[in-house]
Amino acid sequence: MARRRPSTTPQHEGPDAARLPMTEVPLPGVDPAWSRTVTVASTAPVEPVPGRRRRWHLLDNAASLEAAGLTPRGTVLAVHGNPTWSYLWRDVLAAGLDPDNPWRVVAVDQLDMGFSERTGLFRRLDDRVRDLADLTAALGLDDATTPVVTLAHDWGGLVSSGWALEHPAVHRGVVLTNTAVHHDGSEEIPASLRLALAPAAHGLLTERTTAFLDVALALADPSLPPEVRAAYRAPYATSARREPIRNFVADIPVPADHPSHARFEQIAAGVAGLDVPALFLWGTGDPVFQERYLQDLVRRMPHADVHRYEGAQHLLPEARDIAGPVMDWLADRFGGGPTRRELHLQRRATARGAHVPFAAELDERRADPGPAVVDMAPSSAATGARAHVAPVRASLSWAELADRVDRLAAGLLGIGVRPGDRVNLMVPPGSELTALVYACLRVGAVVVVADTGLGPKGLTRALKGAGPDWLVGIRKALVAGRALGWPGTRISLERLDPVSRRALGVAHDVPGLLESAPRADLPASDADADAVVLFTSGSTGPAKGVVYTHRQLSAMRDAVRGTYDLAAGTGLVAGFAPFALLGPAMGTTSVTPDMDVTAPKTLTARALADAASAIRATAVFLSPAAITNVLATQDALDEGRRQALARVELVLSAGAPLPEPLLERLQALVPAATLHTPYGMTEGLPLTDVTLGTIRQAGRDSRAAGAAVAGAGNGVCVGTAVHGAELGVTALRADGAPGDEVTTGPGVTGEIVARAPHVKDRYDRLWATEHLSTQLPGWHRTGDVGHFDAAGRLWVEGRLAHVIVSAGGVLTPVAAEHAAQAVPGVGRVAVVGVGPVGRQVPVAVAETVPPAARPGPADPLLAGAVREAVREATGMDLAAVLVLPEHPTDIRHNSKIDRALLAGWADAALAGGRIRNP
């Protein structure tokens, strides 16, 4: 994610940037009116003469608020760490001047730091907490009638927490960013800090040179602009002014015999008792205040809202816009009414009728000897005479599955898995994964399912974000986990030899768990407790964790069962990951075909047919990539296998909408089946359903003269809402942003919003993302744009982030892309906007057949043909048609074109000059 910073008032940038009287260095982003000096009598124990007056420098936006006639809702007391100063909070001061949500922000320079007085004393933690109390008393904050919220970074977290514990009467909230209040000594402190703490090194690093300062400033991501770097250094120009940095570093109270240790333990313990609203904003790329310090804080304040900024480094306020989220959070928490989350919980959809536990069907069939889950072996194993026999690798009856789940549940409890613990399952789909999932849910553990398709880096990020307590994996996963540092106590799927066990850090194994006797004393299940964490595709930025509760998981089961009318006992080929787990919950018999699960496109027609024939399956769930490969390999089918597929009554392709021609070819392979290609996303699956028949009808309607069905066309028809789901759009305004009225009026283009009992509970540890996604409490914003037609069908027009905001209004890309792709010689097309938002012009970027040798403008004749086709279909006037050998796509799907990248590339290409590769 690019650094986003709210635009600071222009007069504070550049050569005219504000200067404070105490420095020649310009301070971009600071209003000089904020700078003030206060002299306060000190009560710090370190002072040899009690009551000695000390001079403080602060940035305080009170005067600016007053000048603007704004009455603040409260005060943010912002405390920097080492070796920064109040400059760190300049954006928060500016954001506090929002007339709709005014906050006074008092950002202090701690004594001996920034532009505050150099006292010449070694101020320890206890002194600093006293110092802050002296200051707030002098400022009158101790008698504030409005809330005081502490905001802190780095070691400011400890100081401000110490202050908070002593001012319970006014302290009403906590915001912490990349900090720590405790280090338990069980793990070594981070290497970079250890270096600074080494007595020989730290004087050298912190006082004689600006090295410590430089390292700290280098911990910003992306690197700071030179003028900002200069502003951070401004108060630390000389060795004398830097000396306190050394003291600050030396006062990091790690060893138990450290003079500040007791105070440190006392504050850390006190924080656990704070029950005020809290927000933790965390850059996950911080080599000093690593993820475990966040987890420590979450353990102390489990009610806190958390937002993790993937990859952002230590100086989080420089790396990301935190002022926006902080102000949003303050408005939400202290705005007077219920919070958005509270409203969302009230208004969102819940299933009608009593909650039926996810595993209820499995419990009912615990005596059933019929097959529940079947795993297929590689079909190449059976050749020649036995080629018609489907090779089954493993099979569990309902009774066996129920018994296995009971034993695993007992085993998990036995090794210490507690309700709410997160268990990462790195096991391929099949009977073993199924049993583990149901066992985890049975004991109240939260199943974390990360798709290996995210790639090692994406997977590692996702897993560190979810922070599982346990990792159950096949050997390959344990090896990768060892190398990549995945969290969680290791449980091996197989029994390993002692050497491997030790090498991979394995504590337990599944065969061992299965030896446990079933227990009756399982923890009571809570329908509203977390059940699973799934991950988004990561096609737009890092994958996001999505949390479902037990109630929502049951609703997903009911939505799928209800929409597709899957009777108990139906044979189901489970080739689409999230739905594969629904089989036993729906009472269907599931078979997992032989395929490499990390690459859906490895599913062959033969493997599919073998799986279908093994259980006489009538329903098939597949991903689009798998379907493409099945069609590509269908020539290898013999007559018997063709007949197995001819028995299929329902095919469901989930993941991305399948184009009509592909569906037509699929229909020929499964002539008896109704083909469904539902629309949905990790946050709500499925939301709509559409059949090939409906798609054909919709196509006819969109081509019909005289607009027989108002709104038909301009997009991909994804049908109507599934069982239990409600959909609408929020019309886009002229600037491309969605409004807040939900409508289903025909032809109104807007962001698609969904309300359903099976929509996610929340994003995991992404408070700001969740806040935005529930901007209309009760609804989930999908980030897609589309419209309804008069027949109530939804047409998807693209991603909200990809709409083109032209001078004439908002344009959506999908229909234009489809029209362009129909031109002979044209492959995949992305239509992107070029130019400034509000004045963008649409440009088509196309792959060609045969592929272009190099990126550049299309041949003028081809450009003309594409422009004409697009104009005919949509009325859109393409400014240009560019071609390139291959679109940049995200690795996981190899299907989603990276449009943001393309738009930037097209912008540069069409500005003139040489054209580079995107």
Partner: protein, 393 residues
């Protein structure tokens, strides 16, 4: 639409200066109702005389014809007699815009002026540009004030604000005589500043900047490009991918006439006029060539090399001028290798106008024209020196 743009009128507090000449159907003038708020009104040509300078060029001629069709009495100021003046509803005064006497004669009894006359060239002496473009404009404006002219439309060029960097979706920026590229653009920039400075209570002045005007019979751009391409002298710069705005001739003429009709909204500002359909340079050149019937260029030259070559050629040309324009100038190279397309929202709102002819329709008309008038069949194009009208932003 009266009143629709009232809030956008740049000078709401002004009393219209020409009560006697407002659109038919307006309240009778001189009723003494000074305190009554009245919105801006569009001009009608009925009963009004307009002087058009530079009507010997393609754009000037189109503008003159259109004004005549809108009931203006049209008078032309030009150096040589043109067939257009043979029409019964068109008067003609022969002379140069730099000659105060000729201008004074031409302005007798004139209500409105559309000033297109300019020296348009990619090369040439600075003094010549100043004489025609700056002095000519000054003479015209000063004489117009004395003659009681009410409205002036100064036809300018977006190049007056083009400093060589790409322009992507921006509105009209102020004319910049110091940083504009080339003598033509610098002199036009100075002239535009003069013209807009003259805008006031009694004389209203607006500047319209049509960007790259083209159309059938266009000797300046279309035929020049086609001829160079036919001779293999028309390389594409870089990939020919720079996105540029152009204006089909009919749209440019209509916009200029609208600027006069809506001068109450338009005065005091410069408006860039384009088709609002940016296209890549390569596609435009290829389209022109195909329409004229010659092979489009395929040779590519890096933009930086072309700019350098252009600068050198310009210098050589200044010492030893050829008979034609230099094959490439730094200005032309820049124009063809950097994006320049504009935000047309203000223009369209102020003029209450949208282009009627799309780029594609224009290309069809161009091809139709050259099918019936093949390029080699008539006299070779006249070199674009001296006072002509078509503008080549």
């Amino acid at each position: 639409m009266n009143g629709k743009h009232r809030k956008d009128g740049p000078h709401d507090d002004r009393v219209p200066a020409y009560d006697a000449s407002v659109t038919e159907g307006a309240p009778a003038a001189g009723t003494g109702s000074h305190g009554v708020e009245r919105g801006p009104r569009e001009l009608s040509g009925q009963g009004r005389t307009v002087l058009v300078t530079g009507a010997s060029g393609m754009l000037g001629e189109h503008v003159a014809r259109l004004l005549a069709a809108r009931n203006w009495t049209v008078r032309l100021l030009q150096r040589r007699h043109a067939p257009l003046a043979d029409r019964s509803d068109v008067e003609e005064v022969l002379g140069s815009v730099t000659d105060p006497d000729a201008v004074a004669r031409a302005l007798e009894g004139v209500d409105d002026v559309v000033h297109l006359a300019a020296k348009v060239s990619f090369a040439g002496d600075w003094d010549e540009f100043v004489m025609t473009n700056v002095t000519g404009t000054r003479v015209l404006l000063e004489t117009a004030k004395r003659a009681g002219v009410e409205n002036v439309v100064f036809v300018s060029s977006p190049s007056v604000a083009h400093t060589g960097v790409s322009i992507v979706g921006e509105p009209a920026r102020p004319a910049d005589p110091v940083h504009a590229r080339g003598n033509y653009a610098r002199s036009k920039a100075a002239a535009e500043l003069l013209a807009l400075e003259a805008d006031g209570r009694r004389l209203r002045v607006t500047a319209v900047r049509p960007h790259i005007v083209w159309g059938p019979g266009d000797t300046q751009l279309v035929e020049r490009i086609a001829e160079r391409a036919a001779r293999g002298r028309m390389p594409l710069l870089d990939h020919g991918a720079a996105l540029i705005d152009t204006t089909y001739i009919d749209n440019a003429a209509e916009a200029i006439v609208r600027a006069l009709e809506r001068i109450e909204w338009a005065h005091g500002q410069a408006l860039v006029v384009t088709n609002g359909q940016p296209r890549t340079v390569g596609e435009l050149i290829s389209g022109f060539c195909r329409a004229v019937g010659v092979q489009p260029p395929t040779r590519r030259v890096p933009g930086a090399v072309a700019r350098l070559a252009g600068t050198l050629i310009e210098k050589v040309w200044a010492v030893r001028p050829g008979t034609d324009e230099p094959p490439m100038t730094a200005f032309l190279a820049e124009q063809m290798s950097t994006a320049h397309w504009f935000d047309q929202r203000t223009t369209r709102e102020v003029l209450d106008w949208t282009p009627a002819v799309t780029v594609e329709e224009g290309m069809r008309r161009l091809a139709e024209h050259y099918r019936t008038h093949p390029l080699g069949a008539h006299d070779a194009p006249v070199p674009a020196t001296g006072s002509t009208a078509a503008d080549r932003g």
